[in-house]
Amino acid sequence: MAKKKSLGKIRGFSIQFLPYSELSGMDSTQRIKKILNIVLGNVILIIQGKIESHEESRLIEDTMAMIGHVKGFKGIELAVISGDNDGGFFVRIRRGLINAMGGGNLGALTIIGPATIVKEIKKNPKKIELLLDR
């Protein structure tokens, strides 16, 4: 008799959505602090929009500094999905105007999860797969 397939044990996890308006009034240090505080609470964070590339690198630096100092913390998984290159000239102009008015790239989504929960984020241009650590 064939062995019954098991789904295995899946740990519980939380997902938090952060609208861009909650980050827009903050400076880089405050943004990174807020993001890391959420992720350190073992929560998968979905941010409306994206942070700046220098903030992403700062986030990586701060994450690295925490490994070995925060118990059980192994780092983060990070992915941004964006439709920046889609559409024609006028669509991009309209998107640019909306982004300028909103203060950030609102057509994007950023996913950040603790590496203890999110094993891998597989990203293709328009699809994100979260592989969880069982």
Binding site: E56, I60, M64, K74, G75, L78, A115
Partner: protein, 213 residues
Amino acid sequence: MVAKALKSFFRRVFSRMFGQKKELKMGFYGPPNAGKTSLANRICKDFTGEEIGSVSKVPHETRSVQFKEKVEISYKGKKMMFKIIDTPGIATKIDYEDFLKFKIKKKDAKNRAKEATQGVVESIKWLDDMDVVVIVLDATENPYNQVNITIIGNLVARKIPVLIVANKVDLRKANIKKIESAFPEYDVVGISARYGKNLEEFYESIFKLAKKV
């Protein structure tokens, strides 16, 4: 703009008159195990006879920035002096348990992980010092890794010219087209650092890149 062009012109003229050669700082960036040190070794060995660092199948073999000065690359009669800067692979997570799979002792694995985290921070700090950057990607891996996008985004913000190298083209799973479609705005050169494949095109691209400085 005009002042900058004049300054650049006079610098080139004086440099030629007095035989001084500017040394361009060329950084090798990318995720761990993409072959940054293998490529840097290949270049250094070709033009100085010495390698820059050790390579390994275990990720994060390079855990501190290493460099070789006065590497004169010559190709088809053209010559240019570089400072080759090989950086630790940039990652968003480092787990010492991953090193245990390579039969490394627990204590050594923990130490390696600690050094690797410091290496990532050091790599990012060095971004400001580069004149040109070669992003080395493993052509068998998915290029849409956020680390690659973050590095390129930072270089664009700093106006540092970028060349993307798709390494390990000798492997069956290698897919340069995927890297080209992920980064359509950049030149992508497919090479095998291990076997020295297609380095002519790489050197030609390096000279083109240096002109953008």
